[in-house]
Amino acid sequence: MKPFDYRRASDAAGAAALVAEHPGAAFLGGGTNLVDHMKLGVAAPDMLVDITHLPMDRVEALPEGEGGVSIGANVRNSEAAAHPLVRERYPVLSQALLSGASGQLRNAATTGGNLLQRTRCVYFQDTGTPCNKREPGSGCSALEGYQRYHAVFGASPDCVATHPSDMAVALVALDARVVVTDAAGGERRIPVAELHRLPGEAPEQDTVLSRGDLITAVELPEMPMAARARYRKIRDRASFAFALVSAAVGLELAADGTVADVRIALGGVAHKPWRALLAEEALRGSAATEAGFAAAAEAELSEARPLPGNVFKLELVRAAVTETLGEVAAELRGEGEL
């Protein structure tokens, strides 16, 4: 591991400026991704700016009128998942958080770090193999390699990696936004759905953030369907495994039983949490039936471009979308869980 200087940040703008000024600097959250990558040689910062002592550690209701809830960037994943405001208003977020990693890791992992964790592509993590994301221009080993955890939507010839966060998938379904402080001390808000990029020709850039941009909080707007939205994760073992495919689904039914509004976000399928806009479009105004749900999944899958090693994901997307919509619809109709 490369030697590095360690600094404890005492204010957000100062931390942002420090990282912006030092090309080799990185923010340190819980360290569960960054320290791992430093050991692997995937990341080699020469300065760590520890932001965990900044006062961004609260979950609180947003002021009247603005609705919703704000989760500080330093709130640990376990605390966010257990917080009454999150469990009552956004149980899908609690479910997504709790389906990720392990109890120990969730106690350390922060909201900001979870969003900015990097892909688990095995070649990205192995400095002995070519990888355009780690070393631009070196090639993509996954194109002819292990593709089980790779993308079926929105990939490019330069990178077929997926974003691994469960939390981010729920946040996209909830229309959440991140609050960002930049090096000049300015503040801006970015929808989580627009935070992560598709790989295109620059897979080394995971997000639209610039060097020094510090996430200070995630804001969840008020959303009627959020209280009944649900998360489902399909993986290789029952617990402590990344998603092959996951789905965060919210549904609002009109009095006549048709779909008034819907949110579907998918995990494990793209370089970013994938908002299933085609499926949503197919559903709005149509009957909330199993056949309708299956047709919506099919509409989304018309955009899928699987790799030889992950064709099986199409069936998982079909199942995750159809069953989770069915589960939420049944709950809304008072039929309880399927």
Binding site: P3, D36, K39, L40, S102, G103, L105, N107, S239
Partner: protein, 186 residues
């Protein structure tokens, strides 16, 4: 680059100088010779290095020692009182919750964390949304399997580990309830 830090480990305070690259696990084992936290994978994947950091269970292999400056650390070796084992440790012995024992100190710290988290009302991935608000979700076998999934046991002593945590979770004096549903994990 070196840094001077202080840590309180199992009730004893220590001042030490570490390279900033040192993890909490290496600081404990190599600098302070406190060897109950074990190094299995060194990447957060096995749980054998689990300690309680300011009362919360974490994997010490992914925590930098400098970032833990000033913190209170409890290892499995520091959990007993007056020469007597913690009730989680006692239950693991009684239920054959180990074979080689390498994963055990991590299992112990993790289980103590699980008891505290459940008592605080924290849900798990198998807790139905909306359930277990007050007094905390009941620690059924399915709950324990899910909550302990960050601790691998290469010897496969899982059956004994689950039984031991179930026992440790029962209020003192209470008889084992009707057989809890086993194998109910997802």
């Amino acid at each position: 680059m070196d840094a001077d830090i202080s840590l309180t480990v199992d009730g004893q305070s220590h001042d030490l100088r570490v390279d900033t690259r040192t993890t909490l696990l290496d600081a404990l084992r190599e600098h302070l010779h406190i060897t109950s936290p074990k190094k299995g994978c060194d990447h957060g994947q096995c749980g054998s290095c689990t300690v309680l950091l300011s009362g919360r269970r974490v994997v010490s292999c992914l925590v930098l020692a400098v970032a833990a400056e000033g913190a209170e650390v409890t290892t499995a070796a520091g959990l007993g009182r007056d020469g007597r084992p913690h009730r989680v440790q006692q239950a693991l012995v009684e239920h054959d919750g180990l074979q080689c024992g390498y994963c055990t100190p991590g299992q112990v710290c993790s289980a103590v964390g699980v008891l505290d988290e459940a008592a605080a009302g924290w849900p798990s991935a198998v807790t139905p949304p909306g359930a277990g608000g007050d007094g905390g979700p009941a620690l059924t076998a399915a709950e324990i399997r899910e909550r302990m999934s960050g601790n691998l046991c290469r010897c496969g002593a899982y059956a004994g580990i689950v039984a031991a945590v179930e026992e440790a979770a029962r209020p003192a004096g209470e008889a084992p309830a009707a057989p809890a549903p086993r194998g109910g994990g997802r």
